[in-house]
């Protein structure tokens, strides 16, 4: 179904050419890659490059004028907005989908049934005393934990830092990478590994990973992330929206505008396909209208 839909949009933009440069969140990368892939098939003359160097790193490039769209797994920070203003770059935020930031374990880990926000904090926070599972909860084995986390340039890190770690920063011996695939490889390859990243990466690698249910502090019930619990917000506090920021100046270019349209028209189904939760249909329509408005200016 998706492909055909994509096909129609593509035909509208026939004979378009140009360059579209995208970078930013690695959480958003699977959606954006899928979008770019589908779009490129219909519009081979438009050159779309997609990077996944992390939300923060992405904004750096955005401000440097190197990219046209900047993906983000958290809202833009004040200092980033300031930098953009200084560079004279006008932009608009578009929401693409919802994500449930997933805490994952090795499948051989049989003892962790659920984790609380406090336990996560205790494990991951900077200066943490936790070395083995036994330090987290009594009765768990005395085996050394291996921590895997997104790099500090990523939105996921920022989000986790804010919601779980209370801005304390992450423990320094954690294995960090901006590439979430590396984290998957790490956790799936180490019996005592634990890590976190976007839901899509968990879903894609379900056979190699085990996801930890997180206790919702409001209801005190352990919730496993899935489409329903993320959409409903039950999976809290780790549910979050995913964004892309578009540069206004770029949208005056036919190719970039066409691509933006394509993104909003197809983000829902493609997000679901790669493992995120789509927004309600009308939200996409609203944003399409906003897009037309910006381009119309």
């Amino acid at each position: 179904g998706n492909e055909e839909e994509a096909g129609e949009t593509g035909e509208a933009g026939e004979s378009l050419s140009g360059e579209v440069a995208i970078d930013g969140s690695s959480t958003v990368l699977p959606i954006m890659e899928a979008l770019a892939e589908e779009y490129q098939m219909e519009n081979p003359e438009v050159r779309v490059t997609v990077g996944g160097s992390g939300t923060g790193n992405g904004f750096d490039k955005f401000a440097a004028g190197e990219t046209h769209f900047s993906d983000a797994s958290r809202p833009i920070k004040e200092e980033e907005a300031a930098a953009l203003e200084e560079a004279g770059i006008e932009y608009t935020e578009f929401t693409l989908a919802y994500d449930g930031l997933s805490v994952v374990l090795n499948p051989e880990n049989t003892w962790v049934d659920q984790l609380t926000v406090e336990e996560l904090n205790k494990m991951f926070a900077m200066g943490s005393e936790v070395k083995t599972w036994a330090d987290v909860r009594e009765g768990w084995p005395e085996e050394e934990i291996e921590f895997f986390a997104p790099g500090t340039g990523s939105g996921t890190y920022d989000y986790f830092n804010e919601e779980i770690l209370e801005e304390s920063g992450i423990r320094q011996d954690a294995q960090t990478s901006e590439d979430d695939n590396v984290l998957v490889t790490g956790v799936s390859g180490s019996k005592n590994g634990i890590g976190f990243f976007g839901y899509a990466y968990y879903l894609e690698n379900q056979d190699k990973l085990k996801v930890a249910p997180i206790v919702n502090p409001d209801t005190n019930e352990a919730v496993t992330p899935d489409f329903d619990t993320i959409q409903s917000g039950e999976y809290a506090p780790l549910s979050r929206p995913l964004f892309t920021y578009a540069k206004h100046e770029a949208l005056t270019d036919a190719a970039a505008y066409d691509y933006a349209q394509f993104v909003l028209e197809n983000a829902g189904p493609l997000a679901e396909e790669v493992g995120y939760v789509a927004l309600p249909e009308e939200k996409y329509q609203e944003q399409l209208d906003k897009l037309a408005e910006i381009a119309g200016e």
Binding site: G51, N57, D173, G186
Partner: protein, 311 residues
């Protein structure tokens, strides 16, 4: 055609060509000189960029911290530590494991090829061994991550997926041909008269190889080791894929580590913004790496030059 015509034609052409030819003869060497100078410019470029950015780095981070701090954690500016020791230790750990694999195997291969193998065998095996050296390192990295590590995990169940042992072994495999080939060259150039002398005393082939040929070829062999260490230190993709990203001072080969090269790749992949301290830190790391390998290369050159004309 009159016999004088060629001569005349040459005369005429000479008049015409004289200036052009003179110019060509002056311009060409100038251009070629420029080409040669490019090699120096490249070195200057490398040293200059490294130094300039490293200086900026040291304006922000004290060189004392850089050299003595035991931790390398640059990612949170507020709480950063820049102790190159942990990256160096990771690098050396890999190099040591690699040499433990490559020296015995490489040297044994060299001895076999130079002392035991027939000409035909040698001509057959040596090029095949050299294929090993020509395989792109990314292939080795992939091999380490998807084949060697899982195999090692079966033996050492506690081993982390990212560890020093697996990439160390694979780097070692990669440099076997280098040691084998260079050492074999050194051993082959030991004159046969020396072997005859030893055989004439009733020595076995093994005794000739180890007690006569090996000592005589020692300088060439050591030079090959030093060059191989330099390669191992500079190797990037294998350790990036299979070594992990946690710089630490450790001798535990089952743990994840980080090398200097892997750090540079990690930061480059994240596209760290121009002007941040992290950005400058990769130059400081690269400078350290450059100095290490430069020293190694100079030592190798010195050894092989100093001891070349021994017999």
């Amino acid at each position: 055609m009159a016999s004088s015509s060629v001569r005349e034609m040459i005369e005429q052409n000479k008049a015409k060509q004289k200036n052009i030819q003179g110019l060509v003869e002056k311009l060409v060497p100038a251009f070629l000189f420029l080409c040669a100078v490019i090699s120096i410019l490249t070195t200057i470029g490398i040293v200059f960029t490294l130094i300039v950015e490293t200086i900026t780095f040291f304006q922000r981070v004290s060189i004392i911290q850089f050299l003595t701090d035991k931790k390398w954690y640059p990612f949170v500016e507020a709480n950063a530590s820049y102790g190159i020791l942990s990256l160096i230790s990771g690098t050396l750990l890999i190099a040591v494991i690699a040499m433990m694999v490559a020296i015995p195997i490489g040297l044994a291969s060299a001895i076999y090829l130079s002392e035991y193998a027939s000409d035909k065998t040698r001509r057959f095996i040596k090029p095949i061994l050299e294929v090993l050296a020509g395989i792109p390192t990314i292939v080795y990295g992939f091999f380490a991550l998807t084949f060697v590590t899982p195999m090692l995990q079966k033996i050492i169940p506690d081993m982390s997926i990212f560890n020093a042992l697996s990439p160390g072994i694979v780097v070692g495999i990669m440099i076997i041909p280098m040691i084998a080939s260079l050492s074999e060259d050194a051993m082959s150039s030991v004159p046969n008269a020396m072997r005859e002398g030893a055989f004439g005393l009733g020595a076995t082939r093994f005794e000739v190889a180890t007690k006569v040929v090996l000592p005589a070829a020692l300088s060439g062999i050591i030079a090959s080791f030093v060059l191989a260490i330099s390669r191992a230190i500079g190797e990037t993709m294998i350790v990036t894929l299979a070594g992990g990203a946690t710089p630490k001072l450790t001798l535990d080969v089952t743990e994840s580590i980080q090398t200097m090269t892997a750090y540079i790749v990690q930061v480059s992949l994240g596209d760290i913004g121009f002007g941040t301290t992290i950005y400058y830190s990769i130059y400081a790391v690269a400078m350290t790496l450059f100095i290490f390998t430069l020293i190694m290369n100079l030592i190798a050159q010195y050894i092989s030059r100093r001891f070349r004309e021994e017999y």
